[in-house]
Subunit: 455 residues, 2 copies
């Protein structure tokens, strides 16, 4: 792989020498994906200077690969004429994304400068919710009629597709009112004799998306059927556009990030995911505080449980020192279980129908591991404090705690899912806090019953 920081050092030297012809040649020789990586690691002024040296086609391609904030930054720094020419060279969906990320009046300026047909199509895309298939699709789709022959289609593509810079994965077969009738893969087109009629090679059981489908069901369909592209239709089955897997790839990564964030109690509901690590600090705080606050309430309950046993603590202060041990291991094994269940439910490896089996299995695992750790802790505590009753109580609390933690960690995601709540949400903090509360209650009960009478 390209060593981006080495490349940037080299480019900086060329910039310092002001040998711009060399810089221009060098920059234009990189793959657009590499350029995007390079630009992301540059300072804004370097970025702009280098971007301006790119050929127009290449500049448009690089824009497509860059994250939204850099797209807006670079286009905003260019003169409007150049920026418009770059936007016109983007696929419709990318142009709509870029314009959608700008301020209303700024995007309006560009839309007025763009060629009429292009700007009309982009405007239509902007009417769809950006989290739906309609907001993600590219309206430039190659359509053919069912009575065309393979040769007709080949001749048609040779003129049409290049002109409209369409992406080619499948040919969509439509009737005169643009209703989607079938789909032909390029592979089929290229391997069938040229006089075959499209109707005879098209597939009519079509996997398709609806303009109003939300992004999570779009990714689900792509992941399941593993096509390179899926057609998007409206309520009346009229073909409106196409979504390609590279559009979905970014989305999948974003959804995974949100799932991982959610499981640590970082909320992406109110704050955009990008903002949390590098945007406005206030937004980062807003994303992180809500679940910490709920943890605070939970931990105050734990404090109250402990407070309830203040006479026990006064009589036997040594029992306090084992509290972190019990909470730590309970929280840890509970988090393992919840992680396994949440991820399994998310990838489809675990389904609701097998919930019961998983709960039994995890309980058994929790009991075995808890048993092992409980015995270990009993022996260590006994040897250290020369008090077998204390060792036995700590060990017994450990076994119960760890077993209970696996049960709660396994049960909770299924319960949330069946209540139609995302099982990932705050799974980590919730399990840790619950185990703190229950674990302390169990421990202090055992201490009261078995240790208090012996002193």
């Amino acid at each position: 792989m390209l060593n981006v920081s080495n490349v940037i050092d080299r480019l900086r030297e060329i910039m310092a020498d002001e040998t711009f012809t060399q810089l221009k040649d060098e920059l234009n020789a990189y793959h657009v994906a590499d350029l995007a990586d390079i630009f992301q690691d540059m300072k804004p002024d370097e970025r702009l200077m280098c971007f301006k040296l790119l050929d127009l086609e290449k500049a448009a391609d690089v824009i497509e690969y860059l994250p939204a904030n850099l797209q807006v930054e670079i286009l905003g720094d260019l003169d409007e004429e150049t920026a418009s020419r770059i936007i016109t060279r983007l696929p419709h969906d990318a142009a709509a994304d870029v314009l959608g990320d700008m301020e209303e009046d700024e995007s309006e300026t560009y839309l007025e400068k763009l060629p009429h047909k292009f700007s009309e199509e982009v405007r239509e895309l902007l009417t769809y919710n950006e989290d739906t298939a309609g907001g993600m699709m590219n309206p430039a789709v190659l359509t053919v009629n069912s009575d065309m022959s393979v040769l007709d289609v080949l001749n048609y593509i040779r003129t049409k597709a290049e002109h409209d810079r369409m992406e080619l994965y499948y040919l969509y077969v439509v009737d005169k009112q643009n209703h989607l009738l079938g789909v032909v893969s390029l592979r089929k087109l290229l391997t069938t004799s040229i006089d075959t009629v499209v109707e005879d090679i098209m597939i009519s059981d079509i996997v398709k998306l609806h303009v109003d489908d939300y992004s999570d069901s779009v990714t689900e369909e792509f992941m399941k059927y593993q096509y390179n592209a899926l057609p998007v239709v409206d309520f009346y089955n009229r073909l409106k556009g196409m979504i390609t897997w590279d559009d979905v790839h970014d989305l999948v990564q974003e959804e995974t990030t949100e799932e991982i964030y959610a499981s640590s109690g970082i909320s992406t509901d109110v704050v955009d995911e990008d903002e949390i690590i590098s945007g406005n600090i206030l937004n980062a705080i807003r994303a992180r505080t809500p679940w910490l606050f709920i943890t605070l309430i939970g931990e105050f309950i734990a404090v109250n449980v402990a407070n309830h046993y203040d006479h026990t603590l006064t009589a036997l202060p040594v029992i306090a020192i084992f509290m972190p041990l019990l909470a730590g291991l309970g929280g840890n094994i509970g988090t393992q279980s919840i992680t396994l269940m949440v991820r399994g439910l998310s990838t489809g490896q675990i389904t609701m129908s097998t919930a019961f089996n998983h709960i039994i299995r995890e309980t058994f695992i929790g009991f075995v591991i808890g048993g092992f750790f409980g015995i270990l802790v009993t022996i260590v505590t006994w040897g250290w404090k020369h008090n077998i009753e204390l060792g036995a109580v700590v060990g017994a609390a450990m076994i119960i705690n760890m077993t209970l933690a696996t049960i709660i960690g396994t049960f909770t995601p299924f319960a949330l899912k069946s209540a139609k709540i995302d099982p990932a949400v705050a799974s980590g903090p919730v399990i840790a806090t619950t185990i703190d509360v229950l674990g302390l209650a169990i421990y202090f009960t055992l201490v009261s019953v078995f240790l208090m009478k012996t002193i």
Copy 2:
């Protein structure tokens, strides 16, 4: 989306009625991806019965969509003749995967039954490490020579590709010794005039993989360049095969799962990831115990810290009840930071070069949130216990604890990464345990300094 459990209920009724013609028609009408979902939720005997009713082509397609354990189960339950016929219909890479998952003698039986050329090619694939590009690639690639015209190529594809059931995404241009010279997209082929020579439309700066590239760099290249397929070459730049994005898609999901597991201290080094939620229970225990054991050692250090202050605990037992509160919130905010950094490093949103900025930013965030929570805790404790010194000590411990937790949570992933250790490994348990130890030390120190002299 298909409601799988409804479909299975329906299929069960048809099976009960023993109307096998209906069952056969019904099953063969489903999309293979749907059938794979249906089969995964069926009982083994139902699965086998239904699978046997599928047409041969469809059966092979379904096998490709199924997870490894079900592939082996179904093929093992079929008679060898049928199983061989299905395997021959799989793409080479899928056949190699299936045979690689079987016992040595079982796969040998099949390899001997397969057509000679096919079995030779599959045997070659099996020589590559299954975690490398060589082990993932499909050797059936359409190659052309640089002096062919577009028309020649179209004619060639029409005979060759169908016969060898090759996947078509790009055409690879090779010389007589099969060295990779260039690549032509189908799009280019279909939009260029038919008398153009391949040499004039091929791209020679090729993004390619090497047979020995490990799977993580394979997914990295795909994610970065977003191609549908990449060619795989050997040390001498001879074209050996091609990897398509649908092969990579499963791998990406698997890598994400491993990353998520690792962060909760579930080790996938010794145990296969699939085993952990549904395989052998002993393997699940082996995957989960190592990091729990390290947590145990860490928590015993925390226990020792607390034990060191036993006189403080004896004099002021009430301080013990705030231990879970401090550990809980410290662990929680520290986990948030480590989650953000680990994910950012994994997606490339965060790079080592910005480590310092992130540490400063997170420290500030930790201090602001810690300050807010510290003040809150001070007020609540003061109001509750009518002891402002106690409130202030708990609150101050909270601020220091939460700030320190964000610093450690942010710093640790960068430190691990620069030591070439996967930052995800055990991030959750390690941070929680470290915070337990340090948090208790800070809390007891504050208590000793500020509270012990007041009593």
